[in-house]
C-alpha cells in the first residue's frame, strides 16, 4: 500500500478537544439576546378531527408572545418524500385533522419555557375522535378508515431542478387502502426458478419500531432579521442544504434569504434529516415577532413525535438446489410508516436496494408496500431498511441450511456477489470484499468449533451458547437533493489551508476525515488544516450526512479541491525550481520539491508569494465538486427500483456469539465480530468507532429495543423504559477491516458507519437459534419470546 502521511492513520479527531472541554456548541446551547422559548401542543388522540381551537385564555397569560395554529399557516406542506407520485403530506401544524398521538396542533412562544408550558395547558382544542388503524393488516383492509383521503399534488426537488423525468401516472392498478408507497421489481422467471429448485421454503419475520436515541434532543433556534430580511437558523441536523431548501420551499422565501449556522450535532442516526414542525414554528414565530425563538424538544417528544424506524412484516421465499445454489427468491415487505408518509416509499425501495447487492439470485421478485397507520412517523434510521431486510433474508437462509443439514456459511459463500459483478440495475461492484468479510468473520468467531448445529451432544445446564452469522451492504451516497458536494481549499501565507465544507459532523468524524483527505492530497499536516463547516452562507453545497455519502461524495470533492490548489502551487514552482512540467514536482510538509532532486525545493509560502506577484494576484483557492454519478438521466425510480442507485457499496459480515439463559429467556451478546469492507479506512480509530457504534445499536435492536405501542399510545418514551444498551452490556468486540479499493472514492474509501449495523441482527437471531435449537421470528428477541419459543 502507498505510504500515506495523513490518511489511514488513527489520528485523534480535530473536534475532540472542544467536545472534551465542554466548549463545543450544540443547537441546545445557542442563546441569543432577547430569545423567546417555544413549545408545541400535541394531539392526545391517534386519529381525530379538530373542530375548534380556543387560544383566548392562553393569549392572556402574561409572558405569552405568540400563539400559532394550523389556521395561521394554511395549507403548507413538506415531507422527506416529495415527488409527483408521492406529494408531501405533512403540515407544520394540523389544519383540520390529527393522525397520530403527538401530531402538532399549536405552538406558543413565551418569555420562558415554563410560561410557554403553562400556555399550552390553557389552549382548548375540541376534537371529534375518528376510528384509528394501528397495524398494517388492519390498515390495508378494504373497509379500513382512510388516514389520508385527499389526493395531493406536488412537485419534487428533482423537478424543481429540472432534472426529473416527466410526471408519473398514479398507480391505479394497485388498490390497497392506506398505501403510502409501493416498490416492485422482478427479473428472471421466479415461478420457473421455484419449480427447478430442490427445496423451497417460506418464512415470515416481524420487526418492531425502534428509536434513534440521539443524546442531544431535537432543537431549533430561529432568528429573523427584519432589516436584512433574512432568516437565521441553528438546527440540529444532518444536512444544512436540504434543510435550507425545504425551509425556502415551505416559506416561499428565496433560498438566499435563509442562512443555517454551524452547530455541533449530538447524534443523528438518520433521525435529524426531515424538516420538523418545531423548526418551522420557531422560524414562523421569529418572523412574526422579529425576535429569536428557541424550541427544544423534551425527551418524551423526541421518542413520540420525531422519527422512528419502520416496523415491518417481511416474507421471504427461496428455492435452492441441493448444492446450495439459490435459484429463486420472492420477497414481500410491508412497512408501517405511521400517520404520515415519512420515508415509507424510500424504505420499501431500499429493502430491495440493500438485499440484491449481497446474493446473486437469477430469478428474483420483490414487492414492498408502505402503509399509513395512526402511529408516530417513521423515517430514516441508520441502515434505513437494511437491518430489517438483512435480518429476514439471512435468518431465512439459516433456517434453510438447518433443514438441509448444510452449513449456512457454505450457502452464503456459494451465492455471494464478487468484485466486478454488474447488478441488475446497472450498478457495478468496483470493489467488493464480501467473500473475505464472510470468511474472516467465520474464522474469528471460531465457527467450525462453536457452531452447535453439528454437535452430537446438546448443551447441558441453564446457559446455552451459540453462534450466528449474517451479511450486509450499504450505499455510499445516493441521488438526493442537493445531489452533489463541493469544497473550497483556501491557502494561507504560512502554507496552511482552510477547508470550507457544507458537511455536518454528526459524530461520525467527517470533519477529521475530510481534513485528512485535504492534508494528504495537498502535502500538509492535519494540524495545518483549518475548518469552516456547516454554514450555508460560508460553505459550498453539500449532499449532507445521510445515505452514507460523506466519505465518498464530499471526500471526493475535497480531494479535487485540494488537488486544484496543489496544481496552482506547483505551477508557480515550475519556473522557480527550473523544471519543465509540474509532473516533476511533489509536495510534502508545506514544501514543493523536485522528485528527482529533493534538495531543490521551495516552501508553499514562496509559491503563494510567486502566485500573488506573477499570476494577477491569485492567492490560490482550490475548488472541487463531485456527484455520485455523472449521468443525469438514470436516477433511481422508487416505484420501479430502476436506475442507478449509488456509486459504491460498502459491505460487512457480522458474527455473533450469544448466551441464552433458558430459565429467564435472557439473551446476552458475548462476542460481536465485524469484518467490513469500506474500501480504505481514512481514519482507523474513527472507522472502528463507527463499527462499534453500529454493533451496539444493532445489538440493542436485536435484543431489547422496541417502541411499545398500544392503540397508537407510546408506553416507553424514556431511557428508563426504552432499553438502549448500557456499558454493562458491551460485548467482546472484534472488528477487522477488509481492505479493497474503491476506484471512485477518495484514496479508495467508501461507506462505513451505517451498513455495519444491519448484519448483527441476523447474526444474533441465528446465534440464538444455534444456542436453543428453536427460532424466534420477530425482533427484539425478548425473554418472553425466547421462553415462548422454547415452550412450543
Amino acid at each position: 500500500m502507498t505510504d500515506y502521511k495523513v490518511v489511514g492513520k488513527g489520528l485523534p479527531r480535530i473536534d475532540g478537544p472542544a467536545k472534551a472541554m465542554g466548549k463545543a456548541i450544540y443547537t441546545v446551547d445557542v442563546n441569543l439576546p432577547g430569545m423567546l422559548y417555544g413549545k408545541i401542543l400535541r394531539s392526545p388522540y391517534p386519529h381525530a378531527r379538530i373542530l375548534n381551537i380556543d387560544t383566548t385564555a392562553a393569549e392572556q397569560l402574561p409572558g405569552v408572545k405568540f400563539i400559532m395554529t394550523g389556521k395561521d399557516v394554511g395549507d403548507v406542506r413538506y415531507a422527506f418524500v416529495d415527488t409527483p407520485r408521492y406529494p408531501a403530506d405533512e403540515h407544520p401544524l394540523a389544519i383540520d385533522k390529527v393522525c397520530y398521538i403527538g401530531d402538532e396542533v399549536a405552538a406558543v412562544a413565551a418569555v420562558s419555557e415554563t410560561v410557554a408550558e403553562k400556555a399550552l395547558s390553557l389552549i382548548k382544542v375540541e376534537y371529534e375522535i375518528l376510528p384509528g388503524v394501528f397495524t398494517v393488516e388492519e390498515a390495508m383492509k378494504p373497509d379500513a378508515p382512510l388516514i389520508h383521503e385527499e389526493l395531493l399534488e406536488g412537485t419534487s426537488a428533482w423537478e424543481d431542478w429540472g432534472v426529473a423525468q416527466k410526471k408519473q401516472q398514479r398507480e391505479a392498478e394497485i388498490n390497497v387502502n392506506n398505501m403510502s408507497g409501493h416498490s416492485a421489481i422482478s427479473f428472471g422467471d421466479v415461478e420457473q426458478g421455484f419449480k427447478d429448485s430442490d427445496y423451497v421454503r417460506e418464512d415470515k419475520f416481524e420487526l418492531k419500531a425502534t428509536a434513534h436515541c440521539q443524546m442531544e434532543p431535537h432543537a431549533a433556534v430561529a432568528s429573523y432579521d427584519p432589516v436584512e430580511d433574512k432568516l437565521h437558523m441553528w438546527l440540529s441536523t444532518q444536512g444544512i442544504f436540504l434543510k435550507r431548501f425545504l425551509l425556502s420551499k415551505t416559506f416561499k422565501m428565496p433560498i438566499g434569504k435563509i442562512r443555517i449556522h454551524h452547530t455541533f450535532v449530538g447524534g443523528a442516526f438518520g433521525g435529524k434529516i426531515d424538516l420538523f414542525p418545531y423548526e418551522f414554528c420557531a422560524a414562523y414565530m421569529s418572523m412574526k415577532l422579529g425576535q429569536p425563538v428557541k424550541i427544544e424538544l423534551e425527551r418524551e417528544e423526541v421518542f413520540m413525535a420525531t422519527r422512528q424506524r419502520h416496523p415491518m412484516v417481511i416474507k421471504v421465499k427461496t428455492g435452492i438446489k441441493k448444492d446450495g445454489t439459490i435459484l429463486a427468491q420472492d420477497i414481500k415487505v410491508i412497512a408501517d410508516n405511521g400517520g404520515y408518509r415519512g420515508s415509507g416509499p424510500i424504505v420499501v425501495f431500499l429493502c430491495h436496494g440493500f438485499s440484491f447487492p449481497i446474493y446473486n439470485v437469477p430469478n428474483y421478485r420483490y414487492e414492498g408496500f408502505s402503509i399509513y397507520t395512526n402511529s408516530g412517523i417513521r423515517g430514516p434510521q441508520r441502515g434505513h431498511g437494511a437491518p430489517q431486510i438483512r435480518f429476514s433474508i439471512d435468518s431465512h437462509l439459516d433456517l434453510i441450511a438447518r433443514d438441509l443439514g448444510m452449513d449456512s456459511v457454505d450457502i452464503m459463500l456459494k451465492n455471494i456477489r464478487h468484485q466486478g459483478d454488474l447488478l441488475p440495475n446497472g450498478d457495478r461492484l468496483n470493489s467488493c470484499g464480501l467473500k473475505e468479510c464472510l470468511e474472516g468473520a467465520a474464522k474469528s468467531i471460531d465457527w467450525e468449533n462453536k457452531r452447535m448445529q453439528f454437535k452430537a451432544q446438546p448443551q447441558e445446564g441453564r446457559y446455552k451458547t451459540g453462534v450466528g452469522i449474517s451479511l450486509c451492504a450499504m450505499f455510499s451516497g445516493a441521488m438526493y437533493y442537493p445531489f452533489a458536494s463541493a469544497a473550497i481549499v483556501k491557502m494561507h501565507d504560512d502554507g496552511t489551508a482552510t477547508l470550507f465544507t457544507g458537511a455536518q459532523d454528526i459524530g461520525q468524524g467527517s470533519y477529521t476525515t475530510l481534513s485528512q483527505v485535504l492534508a494528504e492530497e495537498l502535502g500538509i499536516g492535519l494540524e495545518d488544516v483549518h475548518l469552516v463547516a456547516g454554514d450555508t452562507e460560508l460553505c459550498p453545497i453539500d449532499i449532507g450526512s445521510f445515505l452514507s455519502g460523506t466519505a465518498l461524495v464530499t471526500g471526493s470533492a475535497v480531494k479535487l479541491a485540494a488537488a486544484d490548489a496543489k496544481r496552482q502551487l506547483l505551477e508557480c514552482a515550475v519556473e522557480v525550481l527550473g523544471v519543465d512540467d509540474i509532473g516533476e514536482l511533489e509536495t510534502q510538509d508545506k514544501r514543493i520539491f523536485v522528485k528527482d532532486d529533493p534538495e531543490k525545493s521551495i516552501s508553499f509560502t514562496q509559491a503563494i508569494q510567486t502566485s500573488v506577484f506573477k499570476k494577477g494576484g491569485n492567492p490560490i483557492i482550490g475548488t472541487g465538486s463531485y456527484k455520485g454519478y455523472s449521468e443525469t438521466d438514470r436516477y433511481p425510480s422508487l416505484a420501479k427500483c430502476k436506475g442507478l442507485f449509488t456509486g459504491a457499496y460498502g459491505f460487512a459480515a457480522h458474527a455473533a456469539e450469544v448466551e441464552v439463559d433458558i430459565l429467564t429467556g435472557k439473551v446476552k451478546l458475548l462476542k460481536a465480530v465485524t469484518y467490513h469492507d469500506c474500501g480504505f479506512s481514512l481514519n482507523k480509530t474513527i472507522v472502528e468507532g463507527q463499527v462499534h457504534g453500529c454493533v451496539s445499536m444493532g445489538a440493542g435492536q436485536a435484543i431489547s429495543e422496541e417502541i411499545v405501542l398500544e392503540k397508537g399510545q407510546l408506553f416507553n418514551a424514556s431511557f428508563l423504559n426504552y432499553q438502549i444498551p448500557i456499558s454493562l452490556e458491551t460485548p467482546e468486540s472484534v472488528d477487522q477491516l477488509v481492505a479493497t479499493y474503491e476506484p471512485t472514492g477518495p484514496f479508495g474509501a467508501k461507506e462505513v458507519g451505517e451498513g455495519a449495523l444491519a448484519g448483527i441482527l441476523g447474526a444474533i437471531g441465528n446465534a440464538v437459534h444455534d444456542a436453543i435449537g428453536v427460532r424466534v421470528y420477530s425482533l427484539p428477541i425478548t425473554p418472553e419470546k425466547v421462553l415462548r419459543a422454547l415452550k412450543n
Partner: protein, 160 residues
C-alpha cells in the same frame, strides 16, 4: 419564589438568586452559561448532566439548585487546567472515546470520580462506574479502552 444560594463552581464562589424549583442543571446552563453540562433527558436517566458535587457524581437535572447551597461543584469546564487538557480528556480523544460528544462531559466527570477513588479499576468496575452514562455513538468500547489505559498509565506512574 426566589432564594439566594452560594456555591463554588470550578473554584469560583458564586452567589446566585434562584427559583426554588430550578434544578442545578438549569442554573449551570442558563444562569452561569456553563453549557458544557448537557441535558439529555431531564429525568435522571442518561447521565449527560453529570457534575461532581463535593467530589461525588450527581445528575444535576435531579438536584434542586437550593440543595446545592454551600456546595462545591465541578463541571466539565473546570476539568482542563490553564487551557490544557486533563489526561482523561486527552486519552478520551486519543482513543476515539468521543464521537458526537454529547455524553462526553458527563462521561469524563464520572471517569474522573472513578479514577480518583480507584486508580486501578477492573474491567467490571469500569463498566459498572459508567453504567449510568448512556452513549449512543460509541457502543462504549473505545470509552472502556480509554479508561483502561488511563488506569494503566496511573499505575505505571505509581498513582497520581
Amino acid at each position: 419564589m426566589e432564594k439566594t444560594i452560594n456555591l463554588t463552581v470550578n473554584g469560583e464562589t458564586r452567589s446566585i438568586a434562584v427559583d426554588v424549583n430550578q434544578t442545578l442543571l438549569e442554573v449551570l446552563r442558563e444562569d452561569l452559561g456553563l453549557t458544557g453540562t448537557k441535558k439529555g433527558c431531564n429525568q435522571g436517566e442518561c447521565g449527560a448532566c453529570t457534575v461532581l458535587m463535593d467530589g461525588k457524581p450527581v445528575s444535576s437535572c435531579l438536584v434542586l439548585a437550593v440543595k446545592a447551597d454551600g456546595k462545591t461543584v465541578m463541571t466539565i469546564e473546570g476539568v482542563a487546567k490553564d487551557g490544557s487538557l486533563h489526561p482523561i480528556q486527552e486519552t478520551f480523544n486519543q482513543k476515539g472515546a468521543i464521537q458526537c460528544g454529547f455524553c462526553t462531559p458527563g462521561m469524563i466527570l464520572t471517569t474522573k470520580n472513578l479514577l480518583d477513588k480507584n486508580p486501578n479499576p477492573s474491567l467490571g468496575e469500569i463498566k459498572e462506574a459508567i453504567s449510568g452514562n448512556i452513549c449512543r455513538c460509541t457502543g462504549y468500547v473505545q470509552i472502556i479502552e480509554a479508561i483502561t489505559s488511563l488506569a494503566k498509565e496511573k499505575n505505571a506512574r505509581g498513582g497520581v
